[in-house]
């Protein structure tokens, strides 16, 4: 494999991983932008989507119908969450809402656990990945043969499409405008006659839809689902959203891609070391192979959070500016 193909392939990998993270991050940012709520239950909403999908597909429901069920079910969950847990806390300090999102997540997880046991399903279930998402596709490009798994392909396409649609929605529609207004100043928006409850409801609907898509993609890739599967994704989504500028939708998108590329890079560098083994000096190779991966990939989460903290201190608005925008 030559230099070009290797990096082109890893670039493609980064793009698809980034798309998945972007989807998750934007879902999170939607709700944060308006409510200033860091919804840690977002990962569990993804989990619910995955479970609804799993049960529908296992029951031989045709794919389009199953998708519909997933979307409906997830939106319903999101709305229920909002009505029961978050609306009563509208006036509460931000931290109280953050903590209660943990509690909501616990309820979702344990509820799923209880349900699974009651209907006699194993705790860790296989996710019946639909055929359309199985296998890989080969591209013959300028650089050479590039491989992309179908799941990554779908992420790569569906991700940006959904996100672009979202941006259009926010910029061009009245509801989108209302959302931006509410995000900027909830009370002023109310005074201007905007039905903020409806706006918030829609934010949750969109957030849940994005979570549903992200959840199904994630479950397809992992191949199996379990009640606490939402934990890792929500952490990643959160990091991505903060990197890009918390509350900003375009920011969350960018953050998702940045995180995706970062992750791929950390594992790509050692591979690069393999490639240049013959042509580069042994010190460089060792640096790329031993020092970098050992430090970077093992300490990756730590580095990300240190970067996060620095970012919060220096530029709380993230890459795209202040929190109060968008």
């Amino acid at each position: 494999m030559n230099f070009g193909v290797y990096w082109a392939q890893q670039f493609l990998n980064g793009l698809s991983v980034g798309s998945q993270y972007a989807l998750m991050a934007v879902g999170l940012a939607m709700v944060f932008g308006i409510l200033r709520l860091i919804n840690f239950a977002h990962g569990d909403v993804m989990m619910v989507a995955a479970y609804i999908g799993a049960f529908s597909l296992a029951a031989q429901v045709p794919l389009p119908l199953a998708l519909l069920l997933v979307l409906l079910g997830t939106v319903l969950t999101g709305l229920l969450m909002e009505r029961a847990a978050y609306r009563p806390l509208r006036r509460a300090p931000a931290v109280a809402v953050l903590l209660s999102s943990f509690a909501v997540g616990q309820i979702l997880q344990n509820g799923t656990l209880l349900l699974s046991r009651l209907i006699n399903q194993p705790v860790q279930m296989a996710f019946p990945t639909p055929d359309i998402l199985q296998g890989a596709v080969l591209f013959n490009t300028f650089f050479g043969d590039l491989r992309l798994s179908r799941i990554n392909l779908v992420s790569l396409i569906a991700g940006p499409i959904l996100l672009v649609l979202l941006i259009i929605f926010i910029r061009r529609t009245t509801l989108g405008l209302s959302m931006r207004a509410t995000a900027e100043d909830l009370q002023a928006a109310q005074l201007m006659g905007i039905d903020t409850n409806r706006v918030i409801m829609w934010a949750f609907v969109i957030g849940s839809l994005l979570a549903a898509v992200a959840g199904v993609l994630y479950a397809s890739q992992a191949g199996q689902i379990k009640p606490d599967m939402g934990f890792t994704p929500v952490l990643k989504a959160f990091i991505a959203a903060v990197i890009g500028g918390f509350g900003s939708i375009p920011g969350a998108m960018i953050g998702g891609y940045v995180l995706g590329f970062l992750e791929v890079l950390l594992t790509a560098l050692p591979g690069y070391g393999d490639l240049i083994r013959g042509s580069a000096s042994p010190e460089v190779v060792t640096f790329l192979q031993t020092y970098l991966p050992t430090t970077l990939s093992r300490y990756r989460d730590a580095f990300v959070f240190v970067a996060l903290i620095v970012l919060l201190l220096v530029r709380p608005g993230g890459i795209l500016g202040t929190v109060d925008k968008e």
Partner: protein
């Protein structure tokens, strides 16, 4: 909410809480059933292994009682959930000892839980047999009351290394899940034995816990000049399915080898065609048609009781642990802990579903044969049962270097 009402409500809840947590008085007659403890992580991260193990244990108790019990008395098992939390694990250990007056216990398929549970049993002087924790150091770490029903990770890794070396070739690939004690130990032992045999690990790589996307690692593999003869992944049940799929999608059709972490229905459910040509070491092949007689009988009984085939070999290990204990109690002729311990130490060629168990030379890790399973046409088939020629020492000297591609 009204202050007084709230206070009263919580006072009531508090009192109720205390009352509910008081031990229920036992109505059983003095000394009639022999009570053993069964600690399992029925909820939490280990559930996919512990639930089958507890099912196996319960089945064993049922069968034993149908056949007349132990020492003429009925056998009773108290199964409690550890929630895969260390303090709850310790709590249930104490609960079983004090409230249920157990004479011995079985349980757990992971080392963390065994290490939280075992010392309490050890201190109470009660024998404890783990159903599935495979770290070979456990009996030393916990004490002389602790016995293992399964073989140690050093044994299964050695067999995997020898099998791979002899059947696939001297050039290997090692991928390790960094997030678990089991996977790191297994990888260490594998590397030691494989290199001892003269094999070379062409590439070593790692991944974080709960990684479902192996594209970066696979890309790196693609960049290699000459491909290795096989791919060894030291993994947890959730990893093997996606890994196999992604490897096959990327065009890597060579043999994939793993440890008993791959012994999960998820391998075939998730991997489907990709699971073909996956080999893994485990305790027994749960095949109702092609397994040994003991396995066939077990599979039939389990299916009848639970409505589906045993999920993995841990079901059989839970079953074996109980039978092993019952057998020891019979040989000891009493429920005295030291007598049971002596009987256990003297166990020789105990015919378990997962193989023959012998505790010799003072080692409480059984010398058992290791089963290697090969997936053919999305079916689990027996590749063979092996005893390793040489087993690495229980405590490896150091962690493997994260990378060291061959020259």
């Amino acid at each position: 909410m009204n202050t007084v009402a709230v206070k009263r409500l919580f006072a009531a809840a508090f009192v109720l809480g205390i009352l509910l947590s008081l031990p229920v008085l036992s109505l059983a007659q003095e000394g009639d059933p022999i009570v053993i403890g069964g600690g399992f992580g029925l909820t939490g991260g280990m559930a996919s292994l512990d639930v089958p193990a507890s099912n196996g244990a319960l089945l064993a108790v049922q069968e034993i009682n149908a056949a007349g019990g132990v020492l003429g008395r009925p056998l009773e098992i108290v199964v409690l959930d550890s929630q895969t939390e260390p303090d709850t694990t310790a709590q249930i250990a104490r609960q079983m000892i004090e409230e249920n007056q157990i004479v011995a216990s079985v349980g757990f398929t992971d080392s963390d839980s065994a290490l939280a549970f075992g010392p309490i049993m050890q201190e109470a002087g009660l024998p404890f047999i783990t159903a599935g924790a495979t770290s070979p150091k456990l009996p030393d770490q916990i004490g002389d009351m602790m016995f293992m029903a399964p073989f140690g990770d050093n044994t299964q890794a050695a067999v995997a290394a020898e099998y791979a070396f002899e059947n696939f070739g001297p050039n290997g690939y090692l991928l390790t899940n960094l997030g678990s004690e089991y996977t790191r130990l297994l990888a260490d032992f594998f590397k030691i034995r494989f290199e001892e045999l003269g094999g070379t690990l062409v590439l070593e790589d790692t991944f974080e816990l709960a990684t479902s996307d192996f594209t970066p690692q696979i890309t790196r593999l693609s960049a290699l000049g000459t491909q290795p003869d096989f791919y060894f992944i030291s993994s947890l049940p959730e990893d093997i399915g996606p890994f196999a799929r992604q490897m096959r999608d990327a065009g890597f059709d060579g043999p994939i080898v793993s440890g008993d972490g791959a012994d999960t229905p998820l391998l075939i459910e998730v991997g489907q065609e990709a699971a073909n040509d996956v080999y893994f070491t485990t305790h027994a092949l749960m095949d109702g048609e092609n397994g040994t007689e003991a396995v066939q009988a077990f599979v039939a009984a389990y299916t009848e009781e639970y409505g589906h085939a045993p999920e993995n070999a841990f079901a059989a290990l839970g079953y074996d642990a109980v039978y092993l204990l019952a057998d020891a109690i019979e040989r000891a002729g009493s429920t005295d802990a030291v007598a049971i311990q002596t009987a256990l130490n003297e166990t020789e060629n105990f015919a378990a579903v997962t193989g023959s168990i012998t505790f010799t030379g003072g080692s409480r890790v059984p010398q058992k044969a290791v089963t290697i399973i090969q997936v053919v046409d999305q079916q689990l088939t027996l590749a063979g049962e092996f005893v390793p020629e040489s087993v690495p020492a229980a405590e490896p000297a150091e962690e493997p270097a994260a990378t060291e591609a061959a020259a």
